[in-house]
Symmetry: C2
Subunit: 680 residues, 2 copies
């Protein structure tokens, strides 16, 4: 799943966002639709209890119990032994009352709304379904506050519901497998951010990741022994269900099928010795749509797979067929000619038309990537758009339901602000009300070429929380600064919940430095980010599934706070200089300048860091130039032409990658250099 | 499993250890039986390959592949795509050749020996079985070294084999459940330390943790929904098998059975409304040995459970029966009288005699805690000793096979040095050669009253590595300082392998401080340890299975390095004062003295840390006293009586617990205070 061509244009989209009024957002993420505050503080003490009224699904009790445990863990208070919340608790006095009308059905479009009203002695959550009740509990966890007396829930009146019904995360478990516990901790994170669809990408060229009892060669020959048992799948589904999260499976056909063809080569277009693909990219192997035996095979396989997943939607991929294996095969060319097909996509449309009744027969609705859309395909299908605005709006205007993933490719190491301002139904699109209803929502996509179970959290979180807010909150909630302020809290909460986007770093750094002080490495990695878009895996030939992902580019994370804050400070300094901000900037520059000497000492004992040596040097000379520039500005002196030329050359050099990473403060320091040469 | 009475005496055992010659230990843990070095360095580059000759079990190939992955992750070198090592690789040139004679059988007493010889161009591992081959790979991972050229394997000649055949870790998954991924990462840690038995404690008063198809009420009613599916058990066994680790299951009878009796109350001695126990301790519920229906029930249940675990040994617990429910029940008293039984243990012996043929019929060998030993029971049984030396040696002298756990209770927060010097067959015991053979080995016991999946690693590691060495290496390897030196490397390696005994701390500290700077908390926790032995859970009534284990006592870890080093420095200072060591000590004391002010600032935003407020204050005044003492000593002045009295009173105060923790530098500072009052 490389999706390269169009995505390379993404970076030109401007990151601005209006500066809407920020009001009553507390530290909440996503921000609720309506919130007002009251004076009814409710302190948490050991007698805190929950009761549940009405007729919820049993998941409400399980989640209420989990809430009690989290509350206890966060506050350190030994709650009076209400370990599990049961129906028997409904009649007992409580500090938190959940009133749930009916069991929620875990399906697209179910009511997820809720309200919270704080009375002087009780918090009352009201929701049509337990799905709303679950969201209310997450809101309350985030509202939990502290004053000199202790932990309390602030007085609020909240009426909340999602803007979009489909708020998803795609997790690719093929390119790198993700064990069940990784999936579970990310489900916890999704629930905390009120996301409700986990899209599992389960087959591709590198493997088939679900046990099949019908076609056991799929796991025996086409998985390297790394796959989910059917019991694992049940376990994941149960875990997700409790949190109000649907699981949508994806099995890609007809291309991206090297794994399936390794197990069952008789369905390939070209006879070859198929082996699991170890590289990442777009490859030629593709199923042969002219082989009549293919359809009974797919019917059996998809019937078995569909039976494992209760969700109504079944994703068949359909993307990135090169067409080469079709165009080079005489009997396929002959077939196309006979049927009057002009281009290979016509043959893929034919394949999809044969597939559609098979998917229907399993009781599911077919969905796929942009490529499955061809004028004339039935309106029931759902299109997931990765290729961007044009195709996306085209299908919507033609009456197709769509999910936006373009702009939510979190594997591309872009900042949260970029994803945050990417709206699935922006005013600028001028969609009619009917068209707006066709926009189901969006999905962040975690393709796993360059991540492992150890690093994957750091590519998902915290940025995906910003996408979750875009998909849940009113579109007017779009203040980037306030989003970043709240993202810090969300990030800490997610770590406390078990995600490891921060805590994975220290052991990896200790390994990189072979037990030496990690400080110089921490300083360097705080101002660098892995190469963005698809640059890190140059030419798709650097990395394989066996490559080490334990290097500086894996410790470096996207959207680093240190350069974000520094860049803002430099802008502030250049427009409204003050001695305080000059001091802030200078201290950082000095740290970076001096860090290189300590970093160099590390290298004697850390060969794996050699590749970052130039990064550290460049950062040092760049920071040095920045300090000189500040001195010029401070002294109201003008730097000479030679100085400018030399320092700009340093800055240009500092833009070069090292260890597949880039320094993120070059532009800001370049601004300082240029200002120094202007004089004032 | 509280095992309290006798264990309270443990602390009086002196921690000394002879200072044997330390030679050729590199950073290896456990130290091999024989090691000599040579000049044949072998550098690792991208062409590094493994080949396997001979006739190993297939686990050898899987482990060789895992070795390649670990080597790549540790060095950062992109190895040429030998992702999986297969039989086809046997004929290709390689830098590491594994010569394995025959498939290892994963059973007690199998040959685990291996040798490593480094030639100028190749490392050759020779082993009778793949189990030895696996150990050799772990030795090589630890030998991996660095010089200015890069990573290399030093030239060695190693002949190694274990001293004991049973080198176990008991993991209690009942008192707190441990998910499959927690078990797996600990299996990785065990394999790294050449341990070969994971003893899973699977039922107790708080739950029954394995899915039973015969008696499904066990998981439905007696597990809170938290248990291993049979698929999970298979998965764990397979994972362990690949690493050469046996899985021994334990199902405790006849006491510690509240969970089983909750599901099947008809087998209880006393009719009660049984509910899962939420507290920890020793309770009265016990099965009724006079009920003839009990034995067919146990036969069915144990036959099903035994079939899940391929290992030959089956642990039936048998410990901590209070006898009260038997003595208070007329028909049981009548039964005892009729059979001429004097005390309740006679009835337990009767029960065990009835159980033995049932266990035999499943094809297993029965094992249990000390209590199952009664003169006359068949010699085939294996006794696991928790009550200490007397019972242990008694059963050995009577010809019974035994495993030592007394002295390896890692839940008791004692230092590694204590466990390290606890020998299962010390010279002082004067065992005959025949008796020595009855000593199978030992097991560290991780009882989980006070640990969760998040904190459990920090109670197991790194201390268990010292126990692993005791059980593997020659008994002459007992230099405590060298053990601690190597333990630091082992600890870092274990974290890189995925254990989280260090990295769990930061997210927990961030939660405790609610996002404030964690530094003051880090300083405080570096010199405190949780209360030892059974003091933390005072009276067994403070904690339940639902209590928060997210507090300062959970962030504090056993056997802290900072106080260990400080205490040594103080001793050094008092015997051989130097300005350097005075400076070291003074800097630490100053840090601790001044830390309290920063810690107090935290408290405004961290109510959960209030309980540690006195600890921080006491540390500060204690450190202050230490600084004054050093000044007196430095100036060769004598402190006055009043000063001494006041400071000793400060020291006494500093011994008080806070947040269920104790300061670990009180004694050392007290020594400084006392010396100051002596003058010199």
């Amino acid at each position: 799943m490389i999706r390269k061509s169009i995505l390379l244009t993404l970076l030109v989209v401007a990151v601005t966002g209006t500066h809407a009024q920020v009001d009553n957002t507390f530290n909440l993420m996503p921000v609720p639709a309506h919130l007002t505050t009251s004076a009814n503080k409710l302190y948490v003490n050991q007698r805190f209890r929950i009761s549940v009224n009405g007729n919820p699904d049993k998941r409400m009790y399980a989640e209420a119990g989990r809430f009690m445990r989290r509350l206890s863990n966060k506050t350190g208070i030994f709650l009076d032994n209400q370990g599990y919340v049961t129906m028997q608790d409904s009649s007992r006095p409580s500090q938190l009352l959940l009133k749930i009308l009916r069991p929620g059905k875990l399906q697209l479009g179910e009511d997820e709304s809720y309200s919270i009203e704080t009375n002087p002695t009780q918090i009352v959550v009201t929701a049509p379904t337990d799905l709303g009740g679950i969201h209310a509990l997450e809101t309350l966890m985030q509202l939990l506050s502290i004053d000199e007396t202790g932990f309390y829930f602030p007085g609020v009146s909240i009426q909340d519901k999602p803007r979009f019904a489909w708020r998803g995360l795609l997790l690719d478990v093929v390119l790198h497998f993700m064990p069940v516990d990784v999936v579970k901790r990310n489900l916890d994170g999704m629930a905390a951010m009120k996301m409700n669809v986990l899209h599992l990408h389960l087959s591709n060229d590198q493997g088939f990741r679900v046990e099949s009892k019908t076609f056991p060669r799929l796991q025996q020959v086409a998985s390297d022994g790394i796959y989910y048992s059917q019991q694992d799948i049940k376990d994941i589904i149960k875990y997700a269900d409790q949190r109000g999260i649907r699981i949508v499976p994806e099995f890609v056909v007809p291309a991206h099928t090297t794994a399936i063809l390794t197990a069952y080569p008789e369905f390939a277009s070209v006879k070859r010795d198929y082996k699991l693909q170890r590289y990442f990219g777009v490859f030629d192997p593709v199923m042969d749509p002219t082989n009549e035996k293919l359809y009974p095979f797919l019917e059996k396989l998809f019937t078995e797979m569909a039976s494992l997943f209760p969700d109504k939607y079944f994703h068949i991929g359909g993307d990135e067929n090169t067409g080469k294996d079709w165009q080079s095969t005489p009997h396929i060319k002959a077939f196309m000619k006979e049927k009057g097909m002009q281009k290979y996509m016509d043959l893929q449309t034919y394949f999809n038309q044969r597939l559609l009744p098979i998917i229907r027969k399993t009781g599911k609705i077919m969905m796929g990537w942009d490529e499955i859309f061809q004028p004339g395909v039935p309106k029931e299908i759902v299109i997931q758009s990765w290729r961007g605005n044009e195709d996306y709006y085209k299908s919507i205007r033609l009456g197709y339901k769509a999910i936006l993933s373009y702009g939510y490719y979190i594997d591309l190491i872009q900042p949260a602000s970029y994803h945050y301002l990417n709206d699935p139904a922006p005013d600028s699109a001028n969609l009619s009300d009917a068209e707006k209803k066709l926009v189901l929502g969006g999905e962040a996509t975690m393709w796993s070429e360059l991540v492992t179970p150890v690093t994957v959290d750091s590519r998902i979180w915290p940025r995906t929380a910003a996408i979750a807010e875009r998909l849940w909150s009113p579109k007017e909630i779009n203040n980037v600064d306030d989003m970043y302020r709240r993202l810090d809290f969300a990030s800490a909460d997610l770590e406390a919940l078990g995600l490891r986007h921060e805590s994975y770093k220290l052991p990896m750094m200790r390994q990189l430095t072979n037990g030496m002080d990690t400080k110089p490495l921490e300083v360097l990695t705080s101002v660098i980010e892995p190469l963005k878009i698809y640059e890190r895996n140059q030419g798709d030939t650097m990395y394989t599934v066996f490559s080490p992902f334990t290097k500086i580019a894996d410790v470096a994370t996207p959207d680093q706070k240190v350069p974000r804050v520094f860049n803002k400070e430099v802008d502030e300094f250049l427009t409204h200089p003050s001695s305080e901000i000059e001091k802030n900037i200078s201290e950082k520059l000095l740290l970076w300048k001096e860090n290189d000497a300590s970093f160099k000492l590390l290298l004697h004992n850390a060969p794996a860091l050699d590749e970052a040596s130039s990064l550290s040097e460049n950062l040092s000379s760049l920071a040095s130039a920045g300090l000189e520039a500040i001195q010029f500005i401070h002294d109201h002196k003008k730097a000479g032409e030679d100085w400018l030329k030399e320092k700009l050359s340093d800055a240009a050099k500092a833009k070069q990658q090292g260890g597949r990473c880039e320094i993120q403060v070059v532009d800001a320091i370049q601004k300082l250099i240029q200002r120094a040469a202007v004089g004032n």
